[in-house]
């Protein structure tokens, strides 16, 4: 244990200030309307903040290979999760519209419309 690398305090202080600043930016950015970019900007800042916490506070920057594999592995899993669920959701019923009249398909599947519940009350 002796000889264990101790991260200098200055890193922590700078990260702390950076995080507070980015929180301020997040709130500030939310006051303006960038249209479709709103979410992207908010997420981008959140990712930068999260990376700061991970790399400096959690010390990932100084960790060896396998910790990175674990972490990136879990992030990749989350992305897979997102990707496939959306792959289903965004194309649900699409093939029936495309093939309607083509094979004379009468589909029982009704697409969930954006902004509306699939079945009225």
């Amino acid at each position: 244990m002796s000889g264990h690398f101790i991260i200098p305090v200055s890193y922590y202080v700078k990260t702390f200030i950076g995080l507070l600043f980015l929180t301020f930016i997040t709130v500030l950015a939310a006051q303006f309307d960038f249209g479709a970019l709103n979410l992207t900007i908010a997420l981008l800042i959140a990712v930068v903040k999260a990376s700061l916490v991970l790399l400096i506070f959690m010390g990932l920057r100084w960790e060896k290979g396998f910790t990175w594999v674990l972490l990136l592995g879990s992030v990749v899993c989350v992305l897979i999760f997102f990707f496939f669920v959306f792959a289903d959701l965004m194309t649900r019923g699409a093939i029936d519209i495309e093939e309607a009249g083509f094979h004379d398909l009468k589909s029982p599947v009704i697409k969930i419309e954006k902004g509306h519940a699939p079945t009225g009350h």
Binding site: S2, I6, Y12, F16, T23, A50, F57, T67, V75, L89
Partner: protein
């Protein structure tokens, strides 16, 4: 070095490890593996959030405007500060500064408690306006999917608050051990691990804040 001081207790390496280095590295690896599972644990909630925000953007906009972004921003700052005091506690433990470690941990707990207090008032003001999880939801809303947002909101912030409560318990536990002088330059594994856990709690909130409070 540090262990020679009378106020510290020397750490015994568990019998199945060869040396302290192996013990420390194993513990840290195990904790990171646990962090990976925590990420996946929360992921399903984020996926659910993304789907319904995609399906019902107007409802999410309306629901989000019912939350107080000021309270959310304040709590974000509180958690970030607590993360900072936590790393300072770890750093003090690594450099055998017992008193400082203890005090930083104490501040961390106080900030955690402050977070929960703010959260409590937030929940209460929601309940006051009839904003409950869907089965008990009785507030006025333009869009009929607003309850879904709050369903997700209550589950995700509730689980996050539960993580904070567990974190407080863990910090109390390491504070007691710090007071006994168990942590010093030669042994600080539990402090470091609790630190990792605490930053994870912060990490989740960093995403929750813009997603829940700042739907624009």
């Amino acid at each position: 070095m540090a262990t020679t001081g009378t106020s510290f207790i020397k750490h015994e390496v568990a019998h199945h490890f060869d040396n302290a280095e192996q013990e420390f590295e194993s513990a840290k690896l195990g904790m990171w593996a646990f962090m990976a599972q925590e990420i996946l644990f929360f992921s399903a909630l984020f996926v659910a959030y993304a789907i319904f925000r995609y399906l019902y953007p107007e409802a999410f906009l309306e629901a989000s405007s019912l939350l107080s972004w000021k309270m959310g921003a304040f709590n974000t700052a509180v958690l970030i500060t607590s993360s900072f005091t936590m790393v300072m506690a770890v750093n003090s433990a690594q450099t055998s500064q017992k008193k400082k470690t203890f005090n930083f941990l104490l501040v961390t707990i106080l900030l955690a408690a402050l977070f929960l207090v703010v959260k409590y008032f937030e929940y209460m003001s929601k309940f006051h306006h009839g904003i409950f999880p869907p089965n008990y939801f009785n507030a006025m809303a333009v869009f009929e999917q607003v309850p879904i947002f709050f369903g997700i909101y209550f589950v995700i912030t509730g689980l996050h608050a539960l993580h904070i409560l567990i974190g407080i318990g863990l910090i109390i536990w390491i504070m007691r051990r710090t007071a006994r002088g168990e942590f010093h330059a030669d042994y600080f594994t539990p402090v470091e691990l609790v630190g990792l856990y605490w930053h994870f709690v912060d990490l989740v909130w960093i995403f929750l804040f813009p997603l829940l409070y700042l739907v624009g």
